[in-house]
Structures are given as C-alpha cells and as structure tokens.
Amino acid sequence: MKIVVCVKQVPDSWAEKKLNPTDNTLDRDAADAVVNELDEYAIEEALQIRERLGGADACTVTVLTVGPEKAIESVRKGLQMGADDGVHVIDDAIHGSDAVATSAVLASAIERLAPDLVLMGSESTDARMSVVPAMLAERTGRPQLTFAGKVELDAASSPGTVRIQRVTDYGYDVVEAQLPAVVSVVEKINEPRYPSFKGIMAAKKKPVETLSLTDLGVEAAAVGLTGSWSSVQDFAARPPRAAGTVVTDAGDGGTKVADFLSAQKFI
C-alpha cells in the first residue's frame, strides 16, 4: 500500500495577512509559515493506516508539497511526525498559481508517484476554497471521497476498497470506492501527534525528492499567474465596523437584547 499525503504551507492563522500590491498575490513573507492545520490530520490518518496495516513493510507514506523553497519545512514536519519520504515540487513558474493550476501540478505528481491512496486536508486555512481535492479526483480519474470524518480501508481484498463517512450539513453519508482513490479529511478525524525527539532526528535522514515542472512534464505557461484562469483585479481594506453599544447586565440584559431586536425588526 502506498499513500501520498498532499500538504500545503500556509501563513499562521493567528497572523495578520496581506496581499502583495505589485501582483495581488498573498504576501507570504509577511506572516510565519506553518503546515496547513487540516493537512496534519491527513498525515496522522496516513500514519494510523500504516500502523493498522502492519507498519513500514506493508505501507509507505510519502509527503508531497508544491511550493517555494521554504515549503520544504512542511514536508519535514510530515517526516518528523513519521512519514517515510517526501517529494517537493518547486519551480519559479508556479508562483501565483490558482487552484486550477495548482491541481494540475499536483495531478501530474500523483500520476508519477502512482499511490493507492491520496490523503489531504479538506481545505487550506489561507485560501479556504475547498476545491483542490475535487479537482485532483477529476484530473486523475480517481474516486472522490471528500470531507471524511472517518476512513476505513480494506487492503486485503483485490482491488482494495476504502469507505468514508462524508460529513454533510445533516450528519454524514457513508461512501465507498475502489482504490486508487482521493480522500480529503476534516478536522477532528483524529488527534495529530507531535513529532518526538526521535522523530525529529530520524527525519533528517529521510529522503526528499525535488521535482521541477520539466520533470513532471507540465508546461510553465500552464501554471503561475499566466496559467491561472482567475485572478485578483484589485483589493482594498474594508472600513472597520462601526462601534456598537455594549451594556452591562443588571438583571435585565435579556430584555435589553430583545429591545434591540425589536428596534431592528428582527422580532
């Protein structure tokens, strides 16, 4: 069993975020970078599947990222947690890629690595589009098992099958498919582990392959700002909300809120 976990490096969600006035892309130097939190759940899920299948002899976990030089840190984090190896797709031409372009790069990397299972977070905390897993399924012709709150794998049957609980507004759907498949996970599917000291030391010796667009056979013109099919035209800071009224409860706090709701015609 071969699992590839897609991870993205994002600005820390506690940090103030800015757009770059020169090309309207995210200013990635303005904030500390971390692994997209939801991708940590995907890494953890991959590690747990490997353990359930009997460890490294039965299953390997590869961490894949697309991004600038610094993005290697997110691969390293996965290796420290316990993944076996990493792949870093890096190319200057990629800067400014939108979701459609990014999914094209990821899809080429997935075709090359040919895993049985692709795991990823259901969205990134910076772009928050929640579209790349579906695009990857579309591009690679693999079943789309997204928004998983639970993943069960039957690797013994041939071909293997995967069953998830797809979280919905009303609860969840149980969805099944044959491998190879694309699975995205939601928060709370598990509790991501912290890298141990041993894990941090071991990660230093784990192999990370670096791939360019040429290695993947992706045209530079198909990615980056030129290859993206949507773009930011302009942006402006929103005026802050006007200050409201805050009162202290003196036994009539609920009534005061009701008065406000009446005045605003909510009741």
Binding site: L38, V100, V131, A134, P143, Q144, F147, R241, V246
Partner: protein
C-alpha cells in the same frame, strides 16, 4: 441577452432560499436560467419559474444522489452546452463548490469561490482575511464559474417564463466511481441549515457543558435560527463538529449572528465576520468579540439568554 445558469439547491421537494438569491443575482447579469438535478417534480419547476427562472433545465433521475458530485457535474455541463450560457452561479456550499471545481477543470474554465457579490461582466467580490479586505476577482478563461455565499444578496422573486427543457445527460462510469451506501441524519429536523440561515445563534466555551447548549437551542428555536458553535465547544464534544463556525468550520453570513460565551478569536471571526448584525453576550468586558458587535451585553449567559428567549417568545406570540 445571454443566459446565466443557476445550480438549484433543493431538498425533499423544496427549493432552498439561496437558489432564489442566485436567480436574483443572475437577473442582474443576464437571462436567469435554473438547472435542477435529481428528483424533480412539476411543483419544483413551477416554484423556480416563480422565483425568476426564464428557462428551467431539468436533469431528472434518482441516480444523481447515489454517487459523490460527479454525475451532477455531467448534468450541469450538459446544461452549459445546451444553453451556451455566459456564466454559472452555484451556492458556495461544500457540495456546490465541489461541483463548480470539477466543472471548471472539465470545461477549462476559471472558478471563483465564496463571492459575496457579482458585478457586471462577472467580476466577483470576495471578502477575505476575516472580512478585513475586499477583493475583486475575475475569470480570464472559459465560462466564469462563481460560487456565491448564501445570504449575499436579498432574494427578489419576479416571475420568469419558466420554459422547461429536459436535458439529455449521459452519466459515465467515471461519474459512478463512488457509491453512497447510507445517509445518516444527525441534525434536529426543523432547524434551518447553518449555511443558509438568516439568523445564527452560537455558543462557545462559556456555555460550559453539553447540557448548557439546551439554552442556546431554545433561543435559536424562538428565533427560527440555526445553532452554531465555536471550536472550543466542538473540541470539548459539547456540540457536533458540523456546526462549528470559523476558519476550519462553516462560514456564515446571516442577517443576525448572536455569539454567546465566545471570546472572538481571529479563527472564529473568519467564519462570521460578514454577518450583517452581530450581538454578543460575554462575561468578560475585554473579550475581543465586543469589537465587532452592534449590540453587546456583559454578563452571565446562563441568566441573560433564557431571559432573552422568554422575551422573544412573548413578543412574537
């Protein structure tokens, strides 16, 4: 005038409110057409006409619900081909965005998600970084596909022609790679969906316990509102995760948001900051949530919220 397709959200024979919002938006951009997929009744088609659709494209069949999104993408693609539409609007729900994503890849079109408005020429407005920045985005390739957040525009129904066109859709084997074997409902029936609700009442760590959420639910029910929760509350297991509002939960943009026992951390604000009116109840006068409010009360929610529920019930009676 070119057609603008609106992907219809419907459940149990009823059209969801966001559909009428999108039809209203479509009318400002071109000729509004609805695309309705799944179990389609005549009543459903009629209410889409009443809501403003000049053409209603119908892909009828029970199979659409049996597989994750892909067959619906094929149906929407067929509607796009049949109409030669200038743009496609879908609701920015989890499934709506996935359908939009796959349609974009299939048709070689740009996609914009979480728009809070769409101007002439399909220029989308997005509110990013927790509502601090307003961005205008446009699609440069193919047919603009834009996912619009519920509650972004007010629905103004105006009778459309309602011409019905049955689509000829060929669902492929690739569309059937997944199988939905079971649907499990956990939400209390009768409450509006979090994404769509005009009013959301949320509880956080200050609620204190799972039982404490009964207070929040009662207020929500008195207002006909959806219930939301902060991550602290869902992490503690007091309320199910699908109701989490914020950066890694749902993004809501209701007319009214009432935050109870929620401090207002940046990741929570990211999911509710574009609400039109915000009220907070919190015992800490320094809580950052008060920076956002139109009206706030400093005090114990366990006293204030039940009193509010009683007042709302009395005044609405």
């Amino acid at each position: 005038m070119a057609e603008v397709l609106v992907l219809v959200e419907h459940a149990s024979g009823d059209v969801k409110k966001v559909t009428f919002e999108l039809l209203t938006l479509a009318r400002s951009l071109g000729e509004p057409s609805a695309v309705v997929i799944g179990d389609v009744t005549d009543d459903l088609v009629a209410s889409l006409a009443d809501g403003g659709a000049d053409t209603v494209y119908v892909a009828s069949g029970s199979e659409y619900g049996d597989h994750v999104v892909a067959p619906k993408v094929t149906a929407l693609q067929a509607a796009l081909a049949a109409s030669g539409a200038a743009g496609v609007l879908v609701p920015a729900t989890a499934e709506g965005k996935e359908i939009a994503a796959r349609l974009a890849v299939r048709t070689g079109s740009g996609i914009i998600t979480d728009a809070v408005g769409v101007d002439a020429g399909f220029v989308a407005q997005q509110s990013v970084f927790g509502g601090s920045t307003l961005v205008h985005s446009a699609v440069s390739t193919g047919t603009p596909i834009i996912a619009v957040r519920p509650n972004s525009v007010a629905a103004e129904p105006s009778s459309g022609v309602g011409r019905r066109v049955d689509l000829d859709v060929t669902v492929t084997d690739t569309d059937r790679l997944t199988t939905v074997t079971e649907r499990v409902a956990q939400q209390k029936a009768g409450r509006p969906e979090l994404n769509e609700a005009a009013i959301v009442v949320s509880g956080g760590r200050g609620v204190g316990s799972p039982e404490g959420f009964a207070v929040i639910e009662s207020l929500a029910d008195s207002l006909g509102a959806a219930v939301g929760a902060s991550r602290a509350a869902t992490d503690a297991g007091w309320y199910p995760h699908q109701f989490q509002v914020g950066q890694t939960g749902k993004t809501v943009s209701p007319q009214l948001y009432i935050a109870n026992g929620i401090s207002g951390a940046i990741q929570h604000r990211a999911g509710m900051q574009t609400s039109k009116t915000i009220i907070a109840v919190n015992k800490d006068p320094e809580a950052p949530i008060f920076d956002l409010v139109d009206f706030g009360v400093v005090g114990d929610l366990h006293a204030i919220v039940p009193q509010l529920t009683e007042e709302v019930t009395r005044r609405r009676a």
